[in-house]
Assembly symmetry: C2
Homo-oligomer: 391 residues x 2
């Protein structure tokens, strides 16, 4: 097959707030090749990503992503790796390129899987898609009471694992954070998996983060996520060396394999969290999963948006039976729910798994998404270089 | 002062080729505050960078760069650091943001320096701007003979130091590369500083790079630049450990302080090369210079474009007397030369230095640049969100 077309769709809720909720808009990618269609989704700012696909080239290694994708052969997984490497080299100086590529790469696996009647995880080399324990990813409430109620509600909804993040944590006192974290534990009950995500709030301040460790251990928290700037590897390693039971998690910002590798090798994290919509798609994510296995580090997906993104993010570790915990977008915006007509739901044992169906295994509900389209138009020197295509 | 306006200008040569020549287009930044004007330049793809400034927000930490800049106070260097930190946090998930911020941050130093009648290097804490030995940054010829002639021409033009890069190196045999490198040495003469830049051609293949070490040492090459993917830290360290005299150089792709730190601490490089148009401007570059000093690593600017970018890139190490070698764009496109009305020229001893004049110390030749303007227009939902402003 030859890649005939790549279409980009900027979708958004009518109103976008300052909440740390990445499901408020989306950049959906449709790829056509050999009469087949594949879908992917970038976890990225839509307009700069579209620009990274259509922009005029600046020089030999600052070329638009489209230059390395359109017209390429797509007959097997090796072609996907080859196209990704082409983008990596030809768009070396275009910073946004990996975020744009991620949705395309995802769509290539979806398309290839449909063409070959195989789920993406099988094309990645796995022989089975194992069940994962989904954790609800929730925002801390403004008050401990609100957090407690959210945890109770998640438990009622069947989640035995919950991650609370962002909100007030790290912005006030250690005692105020303790109230929030203990409220989360109280709401979840003593036996659930509890995780805490602080969204890089401590910058590089190891002492500020370390001051929260006793509470995290007292509440039996499994991991502390993103305590620092993603690049502050020495700070991560220092915190990991403080003797707490809670382990450090990170990696969602990794936009290539190496960034994830550095967190594992130099940052001493215990959980590596990969967003397939940012790291360049399933290929580099699978490479991270392999590297994590070799190091005894647990691989976890990072997914806050649609079930298309969820399926993509499950594929790279679908076959790893021991890496059981997975992120599940428990309260996304309606847009994210509407992206697929079908959804990944927990089974009778409360487990979810990457679909057995070909490709990413879900149907994109194109017509239902038209109402979310953000009509976009870019002109360069009077020439139209991008206009929202027909969905 | 309050930041009243940030205007972005996409400039380009009439034709842009596939050469690894970053001076073929430019994204010029004009900042206005308190009746003063400052200029900066992003070393970045213009359209995705403009999009990173004007895009609608996606969520709380995927906001456009403009959100954290417009309307901010600017009274001293601390304000520049504060604004950069705001962008870092609020645009955490917008990958292109650091490339966009770089030109703005540069312009803030230029503007603040003009307001305070001080060169940027003085505001950065240096007491003097020391002379640097400029090296001509040239592309390898298609043949060794062409390379030899380019080296001779550079010597005739007064350059005692030359870096050759890109072109055929690493794409053919070890012997072919040796012919090229020895031709460069022959053309330059035995006493000149010779550097070689291979633009990440070896990916992560340590053996392929190591096979070139004997030639590099035989030719007395000072550094081998970017042998690998910028993130392949272990490969860098492995090559540095092979016992060659030539040292490894890298860092131009660093889009934050930490990436440069990782190359120094984990990649064992000997020269850290920073492009102020990518790393987020002068502030993070100065932090790298301080860190390099502490580690006995030589700081070098990375500059392939205009003299505005050259001045900006000299500021962060202007006061480091021992770090004497600096990159000088010896054969840029006319656009790059036309960006400033005045230029940084070698003195009688062949040395250049960051200007003594306030800010970045150069005058931007706005009216001469109008012929390079690439008229750009972006509409979202029928609303015009960017149109090339008046230059």
């Amino acid at each position: 097959m030859k890649i005939d077309a790549v279409d980009l769709f900027y979708l958004s809720m009518p109103e976008v707030t300052d909440a740390a909720d990445g499901s408020q808009d989306a950049l959906l990618v449709r790829v056509a090749a050999g009469g087949h269609i594949g879908w992917g989704e970038c976890e990225a700012a839509p307009l700069p990503s579209i620009a990274a696909f259509v922009c005029p080239k600046s020089h030999g290694v600052c070329r638009p992503v489209s230059d390395s994708v359109l017209g390429q052969r797509l007959d097997g997984p090796d072609d996907i790796a080859r196209i990704a490497a082409l983008v990596g080299y030809n768009s070396m100086d275009l910073l946004q390129a990996p975020h744009m590529l991620s949705g395309i790469e995802m769509a290539l696996w979806d398309l290839l899987g449909r063409r070959l009647s195989a789920p993406a995880w099988a094309l990645l080399g796995y022989s089975a898609s194992h069940g994962k324990r989904p954790y609800a990813s929730l925002l801390f409430g403004d008050t401990p009471q609100e957090t407690l109620e959210r945890a109770r509600a998640a438990r009622r909804d069947g989640f035995a694992a919950v991650k609370f993040g962002w909100g007030p944590i790290g912005r006030g006192t250690v005692a105020a954070d303790a109230d929030q974290i203990m409220a989360a534990r109280e709401g979840l009950g003593p036996d659930g998996d509890l995780m805490v995500d602080v969204g890089q709030i401590f910058g590089e301040d190891v002492e500020a983060a370390a001051a929260r460790l006793p509470t995290l251990d007292a509440a039996g928290v499994l991991w502390l996520e993103e305590p620092f700037d993603a690049g502050a590897l020495a700070a991560h390693a220092a915190l990991a060396g403080r003797g707490a039971r809670v382990r450090i998690a990170g990696g969602e910002a990794a936009h290539n394999f190496h960034m994830a590798q550095h967190l594992m090798d130099y940052g001493r994290i215990g959980f590596i969290q990969i967003d397939c919509g940012r790291i360049g798609g399933l290929g580099p994510a699978k490479r991270v999963a392999d590297a994590a296995q070799a190091r005894g580090i647990t691989y976890v997906n990072h997914t806050f948006t649609s079930h298309l993104a969820l399926s993509a993010s499950l594929q790279p570790f679908a076959g790893l039976e021991a890496d059981r915990i997975c992120e599940y977008p428990a309260a996304p915006q309606q847009l994210a729910l509407d992206i697929t007509g079908d959804h990944i739901r927990p089974d009778a044992e409360g487990l979810i798994r990457a679909p057995e169906a070909p490709g990413l295994g879900l149907q994109v509900a194109a017509s239902a998404l038209r109402r979310y389209l953000v009509e976009t138009e870019i002109r360069i020197g009077g020439q139209l270089i991008y206009r929202t295509p027909q969905l």
